[in-house]
Symmetry: C2
Subunit: 129 residues, 2 copies
DNA sequence: ACGTCACATCATGATATCACGATATGACAG
DNA sequence: CTGTCATATCGTGATATCATGATGTGACGT
């Protein structure tokens, strides 16, 4: 019972859906998500705790950063749910923008490891038309 | 995006999970759910509206009663989610009790149609041992 | 057409959740 | 063992959700 409710809570907020959608692309550390998803670090962190309580994600430490990943148990179910609304999600402008920014942040990794802290990504390109 | 969030909201409350679990057994009218799930009619109704907004259930009128059913589109997904936690749900005492009471209420139908209004089910048996 | 009955909606107060800034923690480098 | 930096937690005020009782609505039988 409670497991289902916690899964529901994980999915019941647009910000958390954005986070899950991003994690479906790739494991990400908190600093990468702060930049890519453009939200306050404390806001992001508390949503991550909510998702973690649902057993949907797990953490691992990589150097100074904490990396979040979908759990092996939850991933298929999350994929199924997301897939059932894939087209609506892909049409969402916020989601599309997140995708691009996640990829940009991933490009900055060295040897697949995040080397840049939160809020340090040069976004001067973004202000150009 | 919003569809996923609404689905999440439908699942994010224990009372709504109970309702969905009951509807997985059988279509039910509101009066049957009031008795079987032992909740106030207005409480039940507002949860049903939440679930309906998520596109998970649809209604039809049968005589005076309104019958709720999982939609054909949502049912497979709901089944998948429930199944992924089937054992935990079956272990839930509240859910188990609901199951019994739903079956009792269904037994009272004539020709598969509910004939008894809300709060009219004789529960004198329940107070025995 | 008029009640009646099942259901929906409203009003309210209590509790939970949200975003955000400030502060705490704790792992690593030096 | 000390500072630093990434992340977690706390505090707060605004908003949303909950359960419940009162009231509204609309389809059916008479």
């Amino acid at each position: 019972m409670n497991d289902v409710v916690l899964l529901g809570k994980a999915l019941s907020d647009p910000t958390r859906v954005r986070i899950l959608y991003a994690l479906l692309q790739s494991d990400l550390c908190v600093c990468e998500m702060v930049d890519a998803l453009e939200m306050g670090q404390s806001t992001l962190s508390s949503h991550l705790q909510t998702i973690r309580q649902a057993g949907v994600v797990e953490t691992s430490r990589r150097h100074k950063m904490v990396s979040y990943a979908l759990t092996a148990e939850a991933r298929p179910l999350i994929e199924t749910i997301i897939d059932s609304n894939r087209s609506a999600l892909e049409a969402d402008r916020r989601i599309a923008r997140d995708q691009v920014r996640v990829q940009e942040r991933i490009q900055l990794r060295k040897n697949d490891v995040c080397v840049l802290g939160p809020g340090q990504l040069d976004r001067s390109e973004d202000t150009k038309k």
